[in-house]
Each structure stands twice: as structure tokens, then as C-alpha cells.
């Protein structure tokens, strides 16, 4: 061979300095450390809350979840109304926001309006998510409640025989919280669902049209199912937001320690309970608040796991 093996291999040799290689290693450790730190932070919070809650857990056990007493005078606590209120207000929010959000997402992912108008509309919707929740709360008190109260009275008069509407609305209440939460999570659902719909490959759309599907058949039978996991992901993120939302809810829900089937009645949620009581609490009351916080934590966890299961089920086909 005319070419010397040395010359052949030369360009393949490592020519990076040890310093550069050490920098690489350091970078891996650094980013790994940051990732670990987040996990650690989560564990630290869970442990701290758990330790602080343990007196209440020992004293009240699972009864805490099913009874409705919150009495700092006798030092007896349980959080059923708050758990109930968290679930009802969040699901009421989903009930309102999912159809509307999905509808808007579909509208904005098709070519119904020219791109020139569409883009600003998408931007405006995303901007809705940037409004601070205290502003939503104020708006709820001064604008929404006066409107909803009259509307609610009308509904109570005509549909009062339904348990859901069986009390007369008196301003703040579960229904206001649900509606405010619905408005707050609407942009999350819309933005994520739209991204998922837009990401569906154009080939699938063409395939459906090519088989003689109408636009609606294509959207409902092909595009939405193909985007399903993304849409569910958005809904779950929104539900998590709704369950944890504190400020706006505290301002409009009425903060009454009761669980009434009527949406017009006042109620409270776990996070509104925490916000209202934490400043003046001490002893067992703090432990009970911590216990309630753990319940909220577990509720969100369950919702997320359920979502994963749903998405896996659907994606298997």
C-alpha cells in the first residue's frame, strides 16, 4: 500500500483537549444535578407536608375525608365539603370548557378563516392564560356575579325541582367558581388541543377526503381521534390547574363549610380552605390543613394517572 496507515487514521484521532472533554463531563453532571434537584424538591415538599400532617392523620384517619366538621374551638377537623367542592367546581369547569375549547380548537385548526385573521385570534386566546387569577376573581365579583345572580334566579324558578338548582343563588357560590374556572382553563384546553389537531399529518386528512368523507366526518372520525392523546393531555393539565386554583375561587365561592348538591349554594375547595385558614391556624388545625393539602396532591395524582391510562388504552389501536 502506498498510503501509510498513519495518514489514513490521522483525521479520525481525537483532537479535543482534555479540558474540553472534562467540560463535557461537567456539563452532563450539571444538567443531571438540576434534574435531580427537581425530583428532590418534590420529595422534600411531600415529606414536609406529610410530617406536618401526621398528627391530624393519626387523630382523624380516613374519617377526615368523609365528615363535614371544621371546628377550631373543639379542635375537630374533616374536609369532606372541601374535597367535594374541589371536585365539583373543577368538573363543572371541565363540563363548560371542554366542549367550547375543543370547538374553538377545531375552528382554529381548519381553514375556516384566512390565516391573517386566524393567527391573531390564536394569540389572543393564549393571552387569556396570562391574566392573573386575582383579576379573574375581581371580575367575577364585580361583573360575573351580578349577571349570574339574575340568570341563576330565573333558572331556580323554572328548574328548581332539579336538585342541582334547588337553592336560590345569593351571589357567590359553587356555580360562579365553576364558571370562572371554566373561563380560566379555556385557553389551556384550546391552545393544547389546537396544537394537537394541527400536528395531525396532512396525509390522514387527504386519505379521508380521498375516500369521500366530508369535512365533518374527517374531523370527527380521523383528525380528533388522531389528536386524542394530545387533547386529553391538555384537558388533564387544565383539570390540574382548576383543582389547584386558589385566588379566584376563594373570591367567588362563598367559603361556606358545606357540601350541597345545589350548584347555587355556597361552598369551598381545599385550596380556598388553605388560603382562608392558614394565617390564623395553629397546632392540630395546621396539621389538618396539611392533611387537606395531601388529599389535594393525591387527587391530582389520581387524575393524572387516570389520564395516562385513558391515553394508553386509546393509543393501543
Amino acid at each position: 500500500m502506498a498510503v501509510s496507515p498513519n495518514r489514513e487514521l490521522e483525521p479520525m484521532k481525537r483532537d479535543r483537549t482534555p479540558f474540553a472533554r472534562n467540560l463535557d463531563t461537567a456539563f452532563v453532571w450539571l444538567t443531571g444535578g438540576f434534574a435531580g434537584l427537581i425530583a428532590l424538591l418534590l420529595i422534600a415538599i411531600a415529606v414536609r407536608v406529610g410530617v406536618d400532617a401526621s398528627p391530624a392523620m393519626a387523630k382523624f384517619g380516613l374519617g377526615f375525608l368523609f365528615e363535614s366538621r371544621w371546628n377550631p374551638v373543639t379542635d375537630v377537623y374533616s374536609a369532606f365539603p372541601q374535597i367535594y367542592g374541589t371536585l365539583v367546581s373543577s368538573f363543572l369547569a371541565l363540563f363548560l370548557a371542554v366542549p367550547i375549547g375543543l370547538g374553538v380548537a377545531i375552528f382554529l385548526s381548519e381553514d375556516f378563516i384566512p390565516a391573517k385573521i386566524q393567527r391573531p385570534v390564536v394569540f389572543l386566546i393564549e393571552l387569556l392564560a396570562a391574566i392573573p387569577s386575582v383579576v379573574y376573581g375581581l371580575w367575577g365579583i364585580f361583573v360575573l356575579i351580578p349577571i349570574l345572580r339574575d340568570l341563576g334566579k330565573g333558572i331556580h324558578q323554572s328548574l328548581g325541582w332539579l336538585p342541582l338548582f334547588s337553592t336560590s343563588p345569593s351571589g357567590p357560590g359553587m356555580y360562579v367558581a365553576g364558571i370562572i374556572l371554566g373561563i380560566m382553563i379555556l385557553p389551556i384546553i384550546t391552545a393544547i388541543a389546537r396544537d394537537a389537531l394541527v400536528a395531525v399529518p396532512i396525509e390522514l386528512r387527504q386519505a379521508a377526503y380521498g375516500l369521500g368523507a366530508t369535512r365533518w366526518e374527517t374531523i370527527l372520525q380521523i383528525i380528533v381521534p388522531a389528536a386524542f392523546s394530545g387533547i386529553v393531555g391538555g384537558i388533564m393539565l387544565a383539570l390540574g390547574r382548576a383543582m389547584g386554583e386558589t385566588m379566584a375561587v376563594t373570591m367567588v365561592i362563598g367559603n361556606a363549610n358545606k357540601a350541597n348538591i345545589s350548584l347555587f349554594d355556597q361552598g369551598s375547595t381545599v385550596s380556598s380552605l388553605l388560603a382562608n385558614q392558614f394565617a390564623e391556624a395553629s397546632g392540630l388545625q395546621v396539621a389538618s390543613l396539611m392533611y387537606a393539602a395531601i388529599v389535594l396532591f393525591v387527587l391530582t395524582l389520581i387524575v393524572n394517572i387516570l389520564a395516562q391510562v385513558v391515553v394508553k388504552r386509546v393509543n393501543r389501536i
Binding site: P201, L204, A207, G210, L211, G212, T214, R316
Partner: protein, 265 residues
């Protein structure tokens, strides 16, 4: 433009002086061509000369593109495809399409086939129709035990035959194929070509291909598209259209000769 000579069969699609625009851009001009029934017509020519564009005009799939405009006429069984009374959705149910990239739905094999028939509320036995369509696409033996599995789990060649089966299930009149073998390996390509010969007994096929051997082997008629630079952009046109033997052995134009013998871009 030369029209088909020899064996005379009835014409199923007839395009006359069609000019096709995207916005102000004239993509293809003066498309005049007759597609004979129960035959395979191949569209060949360099990239960007408008083969896909013309193909998509035949089942009104171009309607999805907002900037699309067509002047001239395309008749299907003597009806003007672009007259306002025509429902494009109904057109696409009779003129099926197979795309370059296999595009099965993310559904089971069975549901992929059943999708179209369900749209038209097919009243017959769905299981039979699925089997018949899969047999028609020479896929039945490979998938008969896994009809409930995802269509996406099949190989590329199988996916493309699934897409052909899906088109057949609509019992169409015409099947348009836009480079159906472009993403397939040589063996799958041969399978699809064999399939074409069977399919033309029942259907009329128009196929776009970049593979000269495929055009000469598989088609009865060939249209050679070319493209020319004008002041308004690159506009495609049909340079020559005839029986496949004529195009490949005795073409009238130099450009055709150059293209089919491989001396062309």
C-alpha cells in the same frame, strides 16, 4: 395532442383544454387527455411538471387547496366534474385515490377498510367486504389473523396495499395512484404492479410514476408531461400522449425520447 389509437375503448375521463392555477401561477396548461375505461394510464415526466396536480383534479381533491383554480373542462362519464351541481364528496366516492406515502389511518386494519363503506352506510356484510377488498389488494393472506391490529404495524409495502384495499372497498370506478411505489422496496413494488394488472379488469387506473420500467411494464397508455419556463413561472403541459409501446419505442418528440431513455433530468 395525440389521442389513443388502436384498440378503441370508451372514454371515462376526458379533460379538454384544462388550465390549472395555484393563485396566479399557471401550474399546468392545455391539459387535453382522454382516459380509456378498464385500462392503465401512466403519467410520466420530470418533477414539478404537474402530474400530481392533474391527477388531483380528476377527483376534485385540489378543492382542498384554497388558491386552486381550474379553467377548461374535465368530464367524467360525460358529466362536467366542475359544474356547480356536482358534489365533490360524491365524486371522490367514485374516483378513489392512493397516495405516494402509505397513509393508513391510526385504526385497526379492519377499521381502515371499513371506514369508507361506513361513510356511505354500506348495507351488505362488512366482514365479507373487508375480506374481498383485502383479497383484491393481495393482502388477505398476510393479515387475515390480525385484522384487529393497527394498520400502522404493517410494513411499508403492506401499508400501501392496505391503502389500495381501502380504496377498493368503496367499489370505485376509477383509482388514481400518485407514485404508489415511490416509498416501497423492489419486491413490494412488483407485488403492487402485479396487482395493477388484476385491478384493471374491474377499474380504470391512472398512475403517476417516476419509474420508466414500471410505466412500460404496467401501463397501456402513457402521457409524457414536460415543463417550460415562461415569464409567469414553470408551467407544465402534456407533451405527448399515446399507447405505451408508441411512447417508449417510437415517440414523436425528442424530449419524450430523451426522457424515456433516461437522458433527461
Amino acid at each position: 395532442m395525440a389521442t389513443s389509437t388502436g384498440v378503441s375503448t370508451s372514454t371515462i375521463i376526458s379533460s379538454k383544454d384544462a388550465n390549472i392555477y395555484y393563485g396566479n401561477f399557471l401550474a399546468v396548461r392545455d391539459v387535453t387527455i382522454d382516459i380509456p375505461k378498464n385500462s392503465i394510464t401512466a403519467f410520466i415526466g420530470p418533477s414539478g411538471c404537474g402530474k400530481s396536480t392533474v391527477l388531483r383534479c380528476f377527483n376534485r381533491l385540489n378543492d382542498l387547496i384554497t388558491s386552486f383554480k381550474m379553467r377548461g373542462s374535465i368530464h367524467y362519464h360525460g358529466q362536467d366534474l366542475y359544474s356547480p351541481e356536482i358534489d365533490p364528496v360524491a365524486v371522490r366516492r367514485q374516483i378513489g385515490m392512493v397516495f405516494q406515502k402509505p397513509n393508513p389511518f391510526p385504526k385497526s386494519i379492519y377499521d381502515n377498510i371499513a371506514f369508507g363503506p361506513r361513510l356511505v352506510k354500506y348495507r351488505g356484510n362488512m366482514d365479507e367486504l373487508v375480506e374481498r377488498s383485502l383479497r383484491g389488494a393481495a393482502l388477505w393472506d398476510e393479515v387475515k389473523d390480525k385484522l384487529r391490529e393497527s394498520g400502522l404495524a404493517l410494513s411499508g409495502g403492506q401499508q400501501q396495499r392496505l391503502c389500495i384495499a381501502r380504496a377498493i372497498a368503496m367499489q370505485p370506478d376509477v383509482i388514481l395512484m400518485d407514485e404508489p411505489c415511490a416509498a416501497l422496496d423492489p419486491i413490494s413494488t412488483l407485488k403492487v404492479e402485479d396487482l395493477l394488472q388484476e385491478l384493471k379488469e374491474k377499474y380504470t387506473i391512472v398512475i403517476v410514476t417516476h419509474n420508466m420500467q414500471q410505466a412500460s411494464r404496467a401501463s397501456d397508455y402513457t402521457a409524457f408531461f414536460n415543463v417550460e419556463q415562461t415569464e409567469r413561472g414553470r408551467t407544465g403541459y402534456i407533451a405527448e400522449c399515446d399507447r405505451t409501446e408508441v411512447i417508449f419505442q417510437n415517440p414523436q418528440q425528442q424530449a419524450t425520447q430523451a426522457y424515456v431513455s433516461g437522458r433527461f433530468g
